[in-house]
Amino acid sequence: MIKLNKHSIYISRVASSLIALFVMIGNIDAAQPKKIAIQKRDSIPLMNGFAVSFDVVGAAMMQMGNSGQYEGGLRLNMRNKYFPTVELGYGKADKTDITTNSHYTTKAPYVRIGMDFNLLKDKRSSNHFFLGFRYAFTSYKDNVSQPEFKDPVWGYNVDYSCLNNKCYYHWVEAVVGIDAKIYGPLHLGWSLRYRKRIAYDEGILGKSWYVPGFGKSNNSSLGGTFNITFDI
């Protein structure tokens, strides 16, 4: 008969206790239900409505100056995050220079399509701060004329005019702006736009003075809008 050492008995008792403890802990862990982090699905619908807008700046320019545009837009709201937009406008210019008496006229529609992205973290807010882009196009005819003058060398009378000169412009825009809810469906907002010409033809005259929707003819331009918007 083997007599067990007192120390051995003690060690074995401690070891068996520890083993039992670990097993017990494991069983408790297995018995409790696992807490799975489940993210709540965003409740903002994908198609979250439409909005129509009207630009005040272009209309004011048309009334107070010699060029401007009437412009409206249709904007789709997707989860208050993405806003596909179509803008239609009618630009017009009628300018006579007091020094040269040169008279320039043009009028034509233009179209822009693009997307705005709401950068605010709180997508449930009715206000928006957005960045966006547009692709735009217009086809127009311009007219230039000057009063009759004399050829400086030969002395003949020169009748300077060019009518219905066909032109077109393609350009892209980078847009930044805000849109704030005022009351009910009414929003007010403004945007700043950097426009970059990408393709154009200014006809036989060689240059336009005003391009509907783009502004003064150039490689690029800076512009802005102040919009009155109604949610539908």
Partner: protein
């Protein structure tokens, strides 16, 4: 809101800025390059005066007694279908006059409402008498503000 007002004002200022880029001269010129029959650049040795007849019948001198030049810049009418030019070459012993006829199409050109009216031209034909001039050839038919491109190559019969 107060913080963005300066930004808005700056944007409005940028939008309102405009510049006038009118060319210094709104008259275009035809450029005649003088060449020898070998193709080398020629230098005018005799005195050359180029004139034309104005609408009222009087003469108008376009180039007065040019000598020792290799190119000539001659004005062109705004809207006439053809210009008649008289090249008077005065040497030590003789004076010859050749008539040069330049036929063209006239294209109105526009820079801005702030700039005076101008025309560009497309030369369709050139012909001349041959007392002192051997031939005139169209080098570049488009006459614009660009004076670096020679419109005609002019060959005199002997090195004049």
């Amino acid at each position: 809101m107060r913080k963005i007002i300066p930004f808005i004002l700056l944007a409005c200022l940028l939008c309102s800025c405009s510049s006038i880029d009118c060319p210094l001269e709104n008259t275009v010129y035809t450029v005649y390059g003088l060449y020898k029959s070998t193709g080398e650049v020629d230098t005018l040795k005799d005195t050359l005066t180029i004139s034309t007849t104005r609408m009222n019948g009087t003469d108008s001198i376009l180039i007065n007694k040019d000598v020792k030049v290799t190119t000539l810049s001659v004005p062109i009418s705004y809207t006439q279908d053809a210009d008649i030019l008289y090249f008077q070459l005065k040497g030590n012993s003789s004076t010859t006059i050749d008539t040069v006829r330049v036929e063209k199409k006239n294209i109105p050109h526009f820079e801005s409402v702030d700039c005076s009216a101008s025309y560009f031209h497309n030369i369709t034909n050139v012909s001349c008498t041959h007392h002192a001039i051997d031939s005139i050839v169209i080098n570049n038919p488009n006459v614009t503000y660009d004076k670096t491109k020679q419109t005609f190559h002019l060959y005199f019969k002997s090195s004049k």
